[in-house]
Every structure is written in C-alpha cells, then in structure tokens.
C-alpha cells in the first residue's frame, strides 16, 4: 500500500494520505511536477511559505530492475523562478520506495527560528529539532548521522550553502559509500533551507518493499532491458571505462568545448583534464575507476578519484564539473578540480552552476583565469562563510554577471549553460533555450545525435532537424525521469529496438496494467506541457526561450559560428 506523506512545517504536523487515483501511475519527475503544478501558486516566492519541496522515487524505483534508483526532487526553483525537477542517485530513493512512500511533500515555513530534521521510517515521519549539526557541512552531517542511526540510514542533507539559502545550493544524497550525490540544479537546497530542514533520514527497517503485479513478466522485461544497456557502446563501454569525462576529448574535437568563459570552443590543455588522463590517474593511484551511485547500477559511470597518496579526493567526478573548472576556467589540473569538487559536495552547491559561475567571476576580474588556488579559496573563505562576495558567487553565474554588469553570462532562465557550446552543437542549444528547467543538458541530450551517433546523426553545425530532435528527446527524457531510471538508459533506448518496450513492459508489470511505448511518450508530453504551463503562469513567455544575446554576435572558434536560430524557429518547439 503506497502513501503520500505531507509534512507541514508551519504547524509541525505530518499527514499520511492515500494516493489519489490520478497519481497512481506516476512517480519521479512526473509526480513531483504534477504535485508542484497542482499545489504551488506559480507566482509565489520560492523561499516563502507557499512553495513546497516534493520528493518522489521513480515508478520503477525499489523494483529489481537495474538503473532504477533515482530520486526526484521538485518545487518552484529559487534560481530560475520556474518549476524545478532535479533527480539524483544515492540510496534514499530505494529506501523511500520500499517504505511505500510515493511522495513526500514538505510545505510551510516554521514560525520559530529553529532548525529541524525529519526522520522517516515504517511508522511514519517525525519532525525533530536539530541543533548539533546546524552550521555543519554535508560530510560531517553524514558521519554524525551514521554514528547516531547506523550506516544503512538514507540521508538527504543540505550544507552551509543551503542554510544560507544560496541559489546554487543543492540537496545532497548519501551514496552507497557514504559519499555524496546531488539534486544539483535549480537551487532546491535553498528551498529546504528556507523550511529550516537541515537533513532527512530514512530508515527502511521492516519496510514492506515494492510489490510487482506480474513478477514473471517483469523479470523477462528486466533481463532484456539490462542486456540492452550492456550491449550499447556508450552505456556498456565508454561510460564504464572513462566515466562521463570521456567527453572532454570528444567535445573538444567537435569544437564545442566552451573555454575561457565561452570565448572559444577548444581548450589547448584538454589532454590534462580528459577522461583518459583521469582513468590513468585513478588506476595509477589505486582508486576505483568504476562505481555505481545506487544499488543495481550496471553502467558504473562513477569512480573514486584519489589523491597522489591514494587518499580520497572526490567521487562522482563528472564531465560537466571537470569541463567547467577545467576548460571554462582554464584550470589544467585535475587534482585541483577534484579538490574543488569535493568542497562543492561538502558545502552543497551545484557543481555546474558553480563552475560556470567561476568562469564569469574570472571574466569579472575577481580572480584570474586559471587560478585554481583562487577557486579553492573563494569556495572555503567566501561562499562557505556567506560573506558578501560569497553570497554573490553562491547565487550563481547570473548573480555574478548582474553584480559586475557583464554581458557575457552563459545562462538561460538564470541557470548556467553547461559543457556544450550551443553555437557549435546546435541541437543542445535548442534544449537550453526551451527546457522548462532553464539551461540543462540532461533535459534533452542532443549531444547523443549531434556528436555520439546515437539515434542516428544530425550535423551539429546545421539547424535542420534540431528543434524536432530536442523536442523528441525532451519528451522521452521527461518520461524517463519519471521512471527512476538514470538518464543514460536513453542511449540504448535510442538505438536498440528491444530496450524501450522492455522498459514500458516493466512499468506495466509493476502495476498490472497495459503500458505501451505510446503511453510512455504520452506521459512525457503531458508532464512537459504541465511544466511549461506552470512556467507561463509563473511569468515566463517565449522571450525566455532564448539564449543570451552574446551567442548571436560572438562567433566561436574553431568553426567561427554563431547562434543563428530565429525566434520563430525556436518557438516551433512547443508545437506538439
């Protein structure tokens, strides 16, 4: 029996509610976005009493399927001021699913200036006052909570950035090694901070687990699905071998690796920060080249990156972070980037927002390009301490751009543009422009077809077909984000015919209903339109579906190209 839990921080109550029939087949992004659209006033202040923070495991989370352990978090984003869904690995999603918690809705603001934690177990949810760990960062919280409650406890926590309600604050999720995964984008850590919840602990002892309506059908589909993942060259080979950072050399070669705050598409020192170099370092130093962010992951794109002495430096060390501090900030030292990544995990800031922000801060002259020590200092002495400069930086790239009156500020809907230049890889530019989340590569990963030859090939330098590509990918991704599956299942889903039907068969078998690929696409369309409608009511219109102006008048090397879509071409996106 699944339930909705509603925690009200104003009157300090917890309610257990039945799942409304219309939410029965929803999970993950589909459910968080549906709840936010239904219950959050679109024009409310994101840090005020009327915003809500919603967590939901995916439809398939907690089942025996591989790759299904992602947790969705949703709310009105304080960064974009639109709807936000950000999903994460870690152990919490599966624990919540096993407890039968379909969604956890946190609403209201405490009346007193006191911090709290929430403890979730089979008997319900307790709201407890928290003093000891307030002001502490994420690794300290995880260590202390594990000492209190044991290693098997799931933990969702905010670092000091969330306490400061910084717009780059993420929500950190304990991973199987007691390290950190993140609901990174959109600043939901600030929403959790506004509600004065320092952390949420989850104890699944005695949990009923997830019931499958048709276990046999599920098993067959799950096997087909897992095989497809292992058979595909990206999910089966490239990602497990080099992690996501396999992309540095590929995107650099394509001329789409934004460098020195988006002033070039190639980085001369790309070799020093590449996935190949990273793997060599990991192997030479005795780290882990493969690692999963949740139980049941067979792609294992993660890793544990050690320092020169073999000690822990970082994990979940992703291409976008490495690109951002590497190429975009011109820091050609993986160890410094790993150290910064670890600090960002600890204080709880989105590493994409923060890395892009540092590129803008370098353009502003706060520190010079290439100044890795300066980045570490700004993280620890400014952002961590909430100084005025720290507030500017901790609120992201747009904040720095506004504070210093700059025009070369790579953001859409106030969220940083990640690691793929939209001038040289035009499909991803359409995703940045139109995504309901603000600039977000994961929303419709056109790199797949523009660069990686997945789902066919579309010339990245040409406009033709890119709007349709991004639209199809965003629809499918919205549905995938609802399943609890990691986004990398999209690669086999694009190329291996059995993959997507196996995924939808699992959904059907989970609930005992017929669920086809058409149903899956219909789900994606419905949720995407719902999010778009929320954003329009929150104050967005087509003028927000635009890239920053500088992309249209600053050509980028080596292809010497600008962003050249007309408004009308972009606005075709929403015609579905």
């Amino acid at each position: 029996m699944e339930n909705i839990y509603r925690v009200n921080m104003t009157d300090m109550t917890v309610k257990q509610e039945d799942v409304p029939e219309e939410w029965a087949l929803l999970g993950g992004r589909g459910l968080t976005s549906t709840i936010v659209a239904a219950e959050v006033p679109p024009t409310c202040h994101p840090l005020g009493p009327n915003n809500k923070l919603v967590f939901a495991p995916g439809i398939l989370t907690g089942t025996p399927s591989v790759q299904s352990g992602r947790l969705s978090a949703g709310g009105k984003s304080p960064l974009t001021e639109g709807i936000n869904e950000s999903n994460s690995g870690g152990t919490s999603a599966q624990l919540l699913a096993r407890l039968g918690i379909k969604a956890l809705i946190i609403e209201g603001l405490p009346k007193r200036d006191t911090w709290f934690n929430l403890h979730v177990n089979k008997d319900g949810i307790a709201i407890r006052e928290e003093t000891e760990l307030v002001g502490k960062n994420n690794f300290a919280v995880i260590e202390a909570v594990e000492a209190r409650l044991g290693k098997s406890t799931g933990i969702l926590t905010i670092g000091i950035a969330g306490e400061f309600r910084m717009l780059s604050a993420n929500i950190s999720v304990k991973d199987p090694d007691s390290k950190i995964r993140s609901h990174g984008r959109g600043g939901l850590g600030a929403v959790m901070g506004s509600k004065k919840i320092k952390f949420i602990t989850i104890d699944a002892e005695g949990a009923p687990g997830v019931k499958l309506a048709d276990p046999d059908k599920f098993k067959i589909a799950a096997k087909t699905f897992a095989k497809a993942l292992l058979d595909h060259p990206v999910s089966g080979q490239a990602l497990p071998t080099y992690g996501t950072n396999v992309l540095v050399n590929i995107i650099n070669e394509a001329g789409g690796l934004p460098t020195r705050n988006f002033t070039s598409g190639q980085y001369t020192a790309h070799d020093k920060i590449s996935g190949e170099t990273m793997r060599d370092n990991i192997v030479a130093r005795g780290g882990k080249p493969k690692h999963g962010c949740h139980a049941g992951c067979i792609i294992q794109c993660s890793q544990v990156y050690p320092d020169r002495n073999g000690g822990y430096l970082s994990s979940g060390f992703e291409y976008e972070t490495i690109w951002g501090l590497g190429a975009d900030c011109c820091i050609d030292d993986l160890d410094i980037i790993a150290k910064a990544d670890n600090i960002m995990d600890d204080i709880g800031v989105d590493s994409i927002e923060t890395a892009v922000m540092f590129g803008v801060a370098m353009e502003a002259g706060i520190i010079p390009f290439g100044d890795g020590a300066g980045v570490l200092r700004l993280l620890t002495d400014e952002i961590s301490k909430g100084t005025p400069l720290g507030r500017i930086l901790g609120n992201g790239a747009g904040s720095v751009g506004r504070a210093y009156g700059l025009t070369r500020v790579p953001i859409v809907k106030n969220q940083s543009i990640p690691a793929y230049d939209p001038r040289a890889i035009k499909g991803i530019g359409i995703t940045y422009a139109t995504s309901t989340m603000g600039a977000d590569h994961t929303a419709g990963y056109a790199i797949a077809t523009n660069i990686l030859n997945c789902g066919g090939y579309l010339d990245p330098l040409k406009k033709e077909g890119q709007v349709e590509l991004s639209r199809n990918l965003q629809i499918a991704t919205t549905a995938i984000d609802s399943t609890g599956m990691c986004i990398f299942v999209a690669f086999p889903a694009l190329d291996i015919p059995e993959c997507l039907p196996a995924l939808t068969d699992m959904i059907g078998a989970r609930f005992g209903v017929a669920f086809t690929v058409d149903d899956f696409i219909a789900l994606g369309k419905k949720i995407l339109k719902l999010e778009h409608e929320f954003n329009n009511k929150a104050g967005f219109n087509n003028a927000h579906d635009r890239l920053p102006e500088f992309f249209s008048y600053e050509p980028i090397a080596p292809h010497n190209v600008v962003w050249d879509f007309t408004d009308e071409e972009i606005d075709e996106f929403w015609n579905f």
Copy 2:
C-alpha cells in the same frame, strides 16, 4: 528646424537625421518610448551593444510655458529588464530644445576600453575621449566642466555607480544652482556607463530656440495654465510651502507610511522627519525653502537644506527619499538623511531604490534598523568603492533580497516600491503592479484621489474603482510625461476645468495643429500600450503585474489590512 541626432559609440560616428513625420508631434516619454520600441530588440542585454540610450525634451520644452523643462531619458532598463523612461528637471532639457534637438539617440558600445564625453552645441555633437574625470563623482564633474566650459553649460553625468554599471545608477542633471536633479529610476546610469560616456555637455550659444506656430494663442493658453497651477491648493500652496515632504504626516496619518521595511504603516518618529520640521530647519538655518529645478518653474517644490551652520547639505530633498531612510529604515534624523541624499546625488544612485534597499539590508542584518551612520558608511565605503557588498547594495533592493534569501522584499519588476503602502492605499498598489516601469508612484499617482482629494475621492482601503483610477492616471501621466511638464501639473489638471484644455491648446499652438484633450488622452493610451507591448516581447506577462507575495499574507498596522486584489481584478487594467 528640428533634428534627431544619432551617436554611434561602436564606430564613433554622429549622424544628424530629419525628424520622421510620425515623430513630429512627439516629445519626452512619448518620443523616447517610441524610439526604444522601434529600435531596441526587446530581449537584448540592457548593457550590451543593442540597447540604446535616448534623450528627448518634452513637446513644450523650450517654450515660454511654465513647468515645461523636463527631460526624458529612455532605454531598456537593466534594473527591470523592461522599457524605461525616467524624466528629470535641470537645465539640459531647455538647452537641447533650443538647439532644435528633438532626440539624442546613443547606440553601440565602444570597441576600446576608453571613456568618452559628448559635447553638444549648435554645430552638432563631438565625441571626445575623457580621462581626467573618470572615477570622479557628480559634483566634481560639474565643478570641473563648468571650469572648462562655463556656468551656462548643461551637464548630464554619471557618478561612480554608473561607471560600475550598478542597477541603481541614475543619470544626473545639473540644475540652475549647479546642484543635481536625476533621471532616477530604472538604472539608465548603468546604460550610459556601459556606453562609456562619463558626461554630456550642452552649449546652447547661438541656438535658434523653439518656434511657436501661433504665439498669440500660445500666450493666452499659457496664462490660463499658469493660473490654474497657482490656484490649486496642492501646486499653489502645499508644495511651495513644505515641498513634497509635506506628505510624511499626511501619509502617516493615513496609516500608509511603510515603516521598518514595510512591517508597519505608521512611524512613531514621523514628526522628526516631516515637511513641517524640514521647513523649520531650513528657515532657522537660513536655507531656501522654495526652489525650482528648472527655469520657468512656479511651483518651487524644491529647497536648499542647510546644515546646522548654514552650509550646504542637500537640495531636491524629496519625500520619497526622506520616507525611505526615515520611516522605512527608522532613521529619525533629517540631517543624516540629508547627508545621505547628498552622497547619493554625488555617486549617482537613485535615492528611492537605494533607500528601500537599505531597509532590506537592515532586515538582512547587514546593519541594524536606525543606523544612520551605518548608511553613510555603506554609501561611502562600500557602494562608492564597488566592493562586493557595494555591488550587492548598489544593485538595489531586489539584489539584496536575492543575495540574502529574503522574502520581504518590496519590489515590482525588480524595482523598489516607494513611499506609500499598497495595502493601506490600494490605488497606488494597482499602479505599482501594472506600471510598465516597475513599481513607480509617479506612473499613476493614485495618492491624489485616495488621500489628497484631487479628482474626487476614493476610499484608499477599498478596492472599488481603484483599477479604473490607476488606469486613467497612468494614461494621463504618460501624456504629461510627453509634454516636458512636471508631474505636479496633474493636480490642477484633475480639479480645475480650464487647466488641461490650456495645456493641449499650447501643444496645438506650438505646432499649428488642432490638438484636443481627446488627442492628449489618445497619445497617452498609445504610448502606454506601446510600452506594454515592448515589455511583453521582453519577457513580461500578467504574472509580472503582481505585488510581492508578502503583501498578501502580512497585514499592516494600523488598519490591519492585506493586499487583496485577485489576479483577474488587476488584469482588468489593460482592457482599454
């Protein structure tokens, strides 16, 4: 013969152009908004190469009519990201009009990192490199320029805030006493700073002057108009006697004086900052209780406010500034407020944006409420120096709210709400919500009819009729802002039947056309809709026509009222 001048800062050219026929009867706000709507891409970056800065004297500026010396400045606002028109007194408008300059359009950005000044005279406009006065503030610029070019030179200048491209930066205009009036709201000083123009000088020696098509008709109308101004109790008595600061006691009595960052509607120390106290100080210290901001002003609402020793402290010392630092920041000392006003003039920041910002900064805990010395210190040591904290503060109330994660941030379209609480004086709330300029009391001064019994009376605590009142006022104000008239002509225009026809007769006599009150209203409607359309294309929709959420859930003393208009009620505004 009137001309349009176009200065291109990218290729350093000046073009003199004929006035297009459709602009012939336009001036002031009507002309700047028309040019901005026609020539500025609505989604451009306000500090980028595609924004323009436009100056235009009013239709009647340079004629013998009283009150007609206002200059309009227009562009895309870096503060609101919508259209901006801000008008100011001072001597420049009449000099430009006498030179036959209908509009000065400044476009592009310099290619080199060098500062410039523009010199305007009867032979055209020269672009000159400027080094000496870069980094200097406004009073130093005025002093140095007068030494270079003589006392009769008109000067438009930016202080250090404009050089820093801060969003509260204004454009300062030399007044008849070589003191300062300001294009205050909307941050156009940052646009001038982005174009690297430190100041503009205007020499009207040998200027042809403004030709009147029918001087006799003009003279008769001008006499009727001037009489109406002198006959009305607000423009003829209250404003000349106490200045705009007559309002402190009136608005306090009405329970609509926002106090302690908008948490109460009355200020216990109102007497210490009132217009009556101000007048007593001025008289006792030998200052000037009456003063005009431009030649031909007969209202003389301005004053020169001296210090205890009779030395200059400030002038153009307005109610909104005094309210903001006084009631809203709880600083009960007029001398400290005057000192702050003078610094704000000097560094070139909008005193409304800055005063409201300090209230928010006090709420953030940066300095305590009531800390006048702290305000002076933040102005001189932080904003003036462009420190990180100075950048946060210099970018206005919204910037401080976002930096510190606050929800009680009184802004609309990112511009500060001025000195009248919209919960207790509901008509002005409709103006704040719907104005194309962001929160702006001058856009449709409903205080007139809600509080001052001008144009009838409408209960400020009731919703009935307020939307229509604000609509009518905004339409009329848009037209008045096009004439070059000071906004205070609205009081007699509302109450004295001969006033508005005399104004339109002057326009007709100026151009030798029939120009009726209906034409005047049609002009106001047309320009207001044009501005609204620009804003919608720039990314606004109805969701931006809203007051901050806290007004709806925080009742204000003494009337214990909230902001209770529905979205549908507000959106009725645009049905005309």
